[in-house]
Symmetry: C2
Amino acid sequence: MLANHPTPPGVTQTQLAAALAAFASSIGDDKVATDAQALADFQDPYQVPGEAMNVPSAVVSVSSVEDVQAIVRIAGEHQIPLWPISRGKNNGYGGAAPWVRGAVMVSFRNMKGIEIDEELGYALVEPGVSWFDLHDAIEAGGHNLVASIVDIGWGGVVSNTLEHGLTYMPYSIDQASHCGFEVVLPDGDLYRTGSGGMTNNPVWPLYKRGLGPTTTELFMQSNFGIVTKMGYWLMPKPEIYMPLWLTMWDDAQMPTVVDALRELMLNGTIDMRPQFANTLIMASMLSARSDWYDGDGPIPEEVIDHIAEELGIGRWNMRFALYGDEAVVDHNFAKLKARFEQIPSVEIVGAKHTKDEWESLPNPHERVQIGVPSLDLYKMAGWSGGDEGGHVDFSPVIPLSAAHAKKAQDLFKSMCADAGLDYLGGMLPINARSTTFINVIPFDTKNPDQVHAAYEHARAMVIRAGKLGYGEYRAHPYFADAAADQFDFNDHAQRRLNETLKDALDPNGIIAPGKSGIWGRRLREAGYPLT
Amino acid sequence: MLANHPTPPGVTQTQLAAALAAFASSIGDDKVATDAQALADFQDPYQVPGEAMNVPSAVVSVSSVEDVQAIVRIAGEHQIPLWPISRGKNNGYGGAAPWVRGAVMVSFRNMKGIEIDEELGYALVEPGVSWFDLHDAIEAGGHNLVASIVDIGWGGVVSNTLEHGLTYMPYSIDQASHCGFEVVLPDGDLYRTGSGGMTNNPVWPLYKRGLGPTTTELFMQSNFGIVTKMGYWLMPKPEIYMPLWLTMWDDAQMPTVVDALRELMLNGTIDMRPQFANTLIMASMLSARSDWYDGDGPIPEEVIDHIAEELGIGRWNMRFALYGDEAVVDHNFAKLKARFEQIPSVEIVGAKHTKDEWESLPNPHERVQIGVPSLDLYKMAGWSGGDEGGHVDFSPVIPLSAAHAKKAQDLFKSMCADAGLDYLGGMLPINARSTTFINVIPFDTKNPDQVHAAYEHARAMVIRAGKLGYGEYRAHPYFADAAADQFDFNDHAQRRLNETLKDALDPNGIIAPGKSGIWGRRLREAGYPLT
C-alpha cells in the first residue's frame, strides 16, 4: 500500500490495512481492491483534476447480502466509513465519490438480480440493476409492463429511488413507485420494511406499510442502513402513448403556464411528470455554448431569442405526455390544448403511438417518457468546456404556482447574472402541487476559477433560497451541510432528531457519514462537518 | 381521589396525584379531569361491562401545542403513560380506551383548527377536526374542493390517517392524502416532518419529503410522538360523480371478480377504493341478524341466499364510483361494465350526478364516496345484540388476486364455522395490487361467553393468517401483541428496530406504551406485554 494512500478520519494506514485484510479474508481477496484503476470510477468527474479531497481508499465489490452484512460488521469493528454506490454516475450531485476522504466504497455492480411479476405489476431489484437492465428484462420476458425511467439509462434503479430521483411516467408522481426495502442495518442485522417484516408476506412489494410505524422513507437520502433489495411498481402498457411538446415564445408567460399546468395536473388531465425547461437547458442538450456565443458573462437576451428560434424550442419548452385508452387520450389532449393555447405565444403539438412504435421513436426524449432508456440525452455537460465540461445542480422545491415560480426565477436569474453565469432553469413537478426548480450551473473543468465560482454560486443560491423558505430536494456534497442547515425549524429540530436516530442505529458512525448533513457522534466529536 | 382509582404501571396513587397536580398547575385546573363522567368516553364500549382492565386514570384536554409540550414534559418527569386520542370512537379496534391501565388520556377535542388553501388544494388540520368539521369548512368557504372521508363522520381526520385508516375517493389510494406532520416528541420538543423542517417552507403540505430521510410514516400507528397538525390534500370537484354498484349472485365467482377488479385498477379505469362485501356485511348495515335467523351457529347458506334476494344485494356486492369529465366517465363506465359482466351472475348499475346533487343523494353509501359525511352507516354493530351489539375486526392485507382471495376466504370461512360464528367478509383494496380482507366478528355484549369467544376467535385468526404470510393492517389491543408477533422476519428484526427507536426517542416510555406491540424499555423490564 502506498504511503500517501487516503485514510478515513482518525484511522492510520496500519489500521486501514488491517480492516481491508479482514474484508478480504471474510468475503474474498478478489472483491477488495485499492489500485488506482479500480478507484478511478469513484471520483467526481466535475472537480478540478487533482484537487478533490473526497477520494476513496478502497472498493469492496459485494455479490450477496451476506457479503454486505460481513463488510458492515467488520467496518464497525474497525471504524471504517463505508460509502455504498449502486451503479450511477450521479453527475451534478458529486459523482460516485464518497463524501469523506478515505471511505471504503461498497460497489453493487455485481448484484443485478431482477424478479418480475406480471400479474401484480412489479419488479424486485437489487442495487446493481440499471435502467437498461430493467427495461431489457421486461422486454425479454415479453411482459405487458413498462417501467418509469430517468433520462440517462446507465443509472441504478435503487440508487435513483433512494436519492428521491425523478422519473417521468404516471407512477413517478411523488416519487412513489418503490414499495418495500431490504436493508442491512449498521450493526449488520438484516431488516425488511413494511410488510416485509413478516416472513413470506406476499404484499411486501404491494403494500407500502405493515403493522406499526413504517421506516421505508427513513432509508432514503439517509445513512441509517444500506438498501440491498427494493420493490418497484411497473405500469401495464397503455393502449396509446402520446408525447407532447409545449412551446412558449414569450418569456414573460412562464408563470401563467405554471398555473395552467397545476390546474391540469390537479384535475387529472396530465398525470405524469412534465419537464418544463428554458431555452438554455434545452439548448445544452442539443449544442454547445460556443456554437452560439463566446463572450464573457451571461448570454444576452437577444442571443437566447436567436437560439430559441434556430432550434425551434421557444423561450420555455415543455416535454410531457398522455397515456391511456385512445378515447381518453383524445379527450384530454383537446382539453389541455385548449387550456394552454389560451396563453399568448403558446403552441402544443403531439402524436399518438401504439406500443409497436415506442422502442424506435427517433427522439430520445419521446422514448424516455415511455420507458425506453438511452444515453442520447447525456449532452448537458458539454455546454461549457466540451468533453471536459461539467455542471453542478441547485434544485429547491417550490409550490407549483405562478407567484412562486416568478419569485423563484427572479431570484435565481439575478443571482446568475451577478455571478456572470448563464441561467439554465427548469421545473420538474413533484406532483400537482409542488415542483423542483432545477438550476444547472455549467462550467469548464479546465478552468479552475470557473469551477470554484460555480460551486460557490450554487452554495450561495442554497442559502438565499433557504431564506425564502425554499429547500433543496437533493444536495451536492459541496453544499450538503449548508443545504441541511436551512432546515432550521425550532432551532434545527430535524437535525437533532436525525442525529438521535443516527447515533442509536449507527453508534460507530460507519454508514455514509455526512450524507444529507447527518454525521455520527464520533465524527461530530472529531469536528465534522469540516468548514 | 378514590382509593381504587386506576394507576399506571409502577406508579402509586400519591405519585399519580402529584403528576395530575403538576398538569393542572401548568395548563389549568379546568383541563384536567378524573371523574367518572369525564372518563366515560374513554372506554371500549365493546367489552363486557365492568370487565375492562384498560381504563384511564384521567383526561387532559389540551387546547394548544404548548399544552401538549407541557404535558409531555411533566409526564416524562413523573413516568406517567399518555394516551392521545383525537376524536373518534375507533369501534372494532378497542374504542377510545388506552391500552395500558391508568394511562392519562390526552384529548384533542378542543383543538379544531382548519386552514384551507383552494389554489393548491389542501387543508392543514389539528387533531380535533372531525370529518363533519372538514366537510363543513370546505362548504362554508365555497371551495371547489372535496375531501375523501370515512363511512362514519364522527371520527377524526388526523386519528384515522395515523391509524392507516381507509377512505374511498381517488386520493385514498395507498392511504396517502396526508402531507406533513407537526409532532411533539417524547421529550416535549416540537418537530415537523418533511419540508416542515424549514421555517416558513410553503411546500410542507405539498411535498411529502424534505432533504434527507423522511420520518412522516414513522409517526403512524406508532408511539414515537404525538401529532398535533397535519396537511391533508383535497381534490377539485369533478364534473361528474358516478356511484356504481356491482351485484354478484353466484358466491363462487368472487375470485374472478377480484381478478377483473385488479385489471381495471391497474389500467386506471377504476381509481378509488371499492368496498366489496359479502351478503352478511351488507345486511349488517341494513338489518339485524334476528330479522333473518335465530338459531345457534353460523347462518345457513340458504338463509344467506334468502337475505341476498330480499335485500337485493347479491352474495357479494361492490360499492364503487367513477369521477371526472363526463366523456371519460362514460368511456370508463362502458369499459368496466363490459369487463365485469363477462363474469356469470354479475350486474353493474350506476347513475351520473353533478355537484348540485351530491349533498342530498338519498343513499348514504353514495354520499360517502363523494365526501358527504353522516352517521347513517353506523348500524353494523347491531347485527348481534341490537343496541348492545358489538364487533371486533380482523383485517389482514393480501394480494389483490383471485388465488389469494380464495385462499384467504377458505381459511376465514372455515375458522368462523368452527367457532360457530357468521362469516362477515369484505375487501377494501389498498391500491391496485393489494387489499385488506376485513372480517367483522359481531357479538352481543350482554353475553360474556360470546364476547370472549369472539375475541379469542379473532386472535386465533391473526395467528393462523400470519402462518400464511398475511399480516394485520391494524390491530385491536386484545391481539396487538399477537399481531406484531407475526412480523417475524429474521427473528423479529422489525421489533428490534422499533424498540431501538422507541428507547432512543422515548426513554421514559410515556407515549402510548404497547401501541402496535412496541413497549418502551421501562415497561418491557416490568414484564410487559402482560400475558
